[in-house]
Structure formats: structure tokens, C-alpha cells
């Protein structure tokens, strides 16, 4: 009774459950994680940010998608999009920035971009190969402007530097780590 009840999305145990699912699909690109039972009707993209962000991280929200309340609960510092460790972006809009790509000494400094899309399954199919994929996998994000894949290819050209993408529709997420090779679209 004496400590406040947090909304489900902001509870540490929810973040632990979310993290496990995100980690699983990041390890097996092409797989989709359904987060519905953990979301309480909040967007999956926000759930991904809630899992990753804390007061030691930086976030850029160039499209202003986050409410003041969500921002307060994320408890994350704001940084310009070229410097932030995490970025929230809309798949429909072509990216007009260059995110952090890391360095050869510290490639993990490359940004993680949470890209909001309409659906993970009813767009043009992409063929995925690479680490974590047995032979090939398929992902068909709808509402992802083609510029995103071009930009990603440029940003990840100097592997191990690059970025990792988390695609999120309303209730599900898929991860495209920089190690994944994408064909199609």
C-alpha cells in the first residue's frame, strides 16, 4: 500500500520479460516477437524503448512521437539525433540524418533505431541471410520507406561500425542487426 503502483509498461519485471523476447528475435533475425500480453495497449515501439532506456542513455525523438508523460517515465536524457544512443523514427519518413555509427575501437557505440512501421507482415517481402539465420528468413514490413534500407546499407558499409534497427508495429517487433544481409524490396 505504501509504495505507488506503476503502470505495467514501466515495471522492472515487465522490462525483464520484454528484454528476453527482444533478445531472442535479435539473435534470430526474421523472427517476430508478439508483445501483446505485456503491452496493456501501449505501442510496441514504446515498450522497446522502455526496455532499453535508463538515465545513463541518450534518446532522440525527431518526430516528437513521445508524450511528456512517456518521456518522464523513460527517464532518459535527450540528445541530438546524430549523437543519441537510441533514436525513435517513423518508417514512413525517409531518414534525413546520419546516426552514430560507433568507431572501430567501440563499434557498440552505433545507434539503435526503433522504427515505427504499419505492419511487420503485409509489406514487400525482404530476404534475410546471415548470423542467426539457418539458410534464409523473410520479413515483410509494411510502411517502411525504401530509403531506410539504402541508408542502412550505407551506415553499415564499414562493419563492425553501423546501426541496429528494431522494427515495431503496434504490437510486435523484429530486429535487423547490422550483421544481417537484406535482399529484395
Amino acid at each position: 500500500m505504501s509504495v505507488l503502483d506503476l503502470p505495467r509498461l514501466w515495471r522492472p519485471e515487465t522490462h525483464q520479460a520484454l528484454f528476453r523476447r527482444i533478445l531472442d528475435v535479435a539473435a534470430r533475425p526474421g523472427r517476430i516477437a508478439d508483445l501483446t500480453d505485456l503491452l496493456d495497449d501501449r505501442p510496441a515501439a514504446l515498450a522497446a524503448l522502455a526496455t532499453f532506456c535508463d538515465n545513463t542513455q541518450t534518446l532522440a525523438d525527431p518526430t516528437g512521437a513521445l508524450s511528456d508523460s512517456d518521456r518522464a517515465f523513460l527517464d532518459v536524457r535527450t540528445a541530438p539525433v546524430e549523437q543519441a544512443g537510441f533514436i525513435l523514427a517513423r518508417g514512413a519518413d525517409a531518414p534525413r540524418f546520419t546516426p552514430r555509427l560507433g568507431t572501430l575501437d567501440a563499434p557498440e557505440g552505433g545507434a539503435l533505431i526503433v522504427v515505427m512501421v504499419d505492419s511487420l507482415t503485409d509489406g514487400a517481402p525482404l530476404t534475410l541471410t546471415g548470423p542467426g539465420i539457418a539458410s534464409q528468413a523473410c520479413l515483410a514490413p509494411g510502411g517502411l520507406a525504401p530509403d531506410w534500407l539504402e541508408a542502412r546499407a550505407r551506415w553499415c558499409a564499414d562493419f563492425p561500425m553501423g546501426v541496429d534497427l528494431v522494427l515495431a508495429d503496434q504490437t510486435r517487433i523484429a530486429v535487423l542487426p547490422r550483421t544481417t544481409h537484406i535482399e529484395g524490396a
Binding site: 509504495v3 505507488l4 514501466w10 508523460s69 517515465f73
Partner: protein, 149 residues
Amino acid sequence: MRPEREHWACALAAADADAVAALADRIRRRAAVDPLAPPREGLMLMQMRESVAGSLFHLGEIPMARVHLRLTAPEGAAEGGAALMSDDLALVTRLAILDAALCAELPEAPEIEALIAEGMAVQAEIRARRALTLDRTRVDFQLLSEDDA
């Protein structure tokens, strides 16, 4: 004269703990209390500016708990907040509730003010004891050579 809002929490923390808890819990039973930020309890680095070169450094870590909430009672609503060097999130939550309740001028306001006054009296006693320490050990050294003058 009601003291400034930024003095309430530490004054209440110095007042009788059971009375503070009982009052906050009584208000909470008839109000909706919602967090506006994650209530946190952990450690902060205490930053100091040293006086020789004027540079910043960390003296060490201190416990800190921080709560920011909204209180909505039939008689009124307000945002409340408190931060205290403590690991007791329940205590700081109660202080934030009292902070909100006093701002909203709920019927319990006089009781809250009374507890604040009680805490301030405790703080005044501590100050008086420290002043006594200084007063009774104040030196007036004289060099031996001054005696001869």
C-alpha cells in the same frame, strides 16, 4: 507563515515518523495517487567543488529516493514531490503525498503544517546544539610573545 515548499520534506522527515505515516496513509485512502515519473530509490554521486583549484569531483555516493506524483482527492488535486537521502521509498512516497495535499489545501492542511512545525523545532534544536558546540569551544589563542608586550 507557512515555510517555503522546498523545506517541507526535510522538516517532515524530522517529525514523528508514525504520525507522518498515519496522516499520509489517511489521505491516501480517500484519494487517487498516480506516479508522474518512476519512483526511484538508489544512489547518487555527491559532486563537490574543491576550493583549491575550483574543479569538480565526486566525494562518494549517497542514498537518494525521489517520488513525483499526482494526488486527486474529492476536495482538490495537485502534483506532489519529495526527495530524501534515504532508501525508504515508502517514506518518501508519503512525503510526496503530504507535499501534494498541502499544495491542494486539503482539509488535512493544518495537521500537515503542525507536523512541519514539529520537524522544524527538531531542526532548530539541532542547530542550537551545534551553536553551543561552537560557542563553548571558541578559541582566543594568544602568542606568548604578546604577553610580554
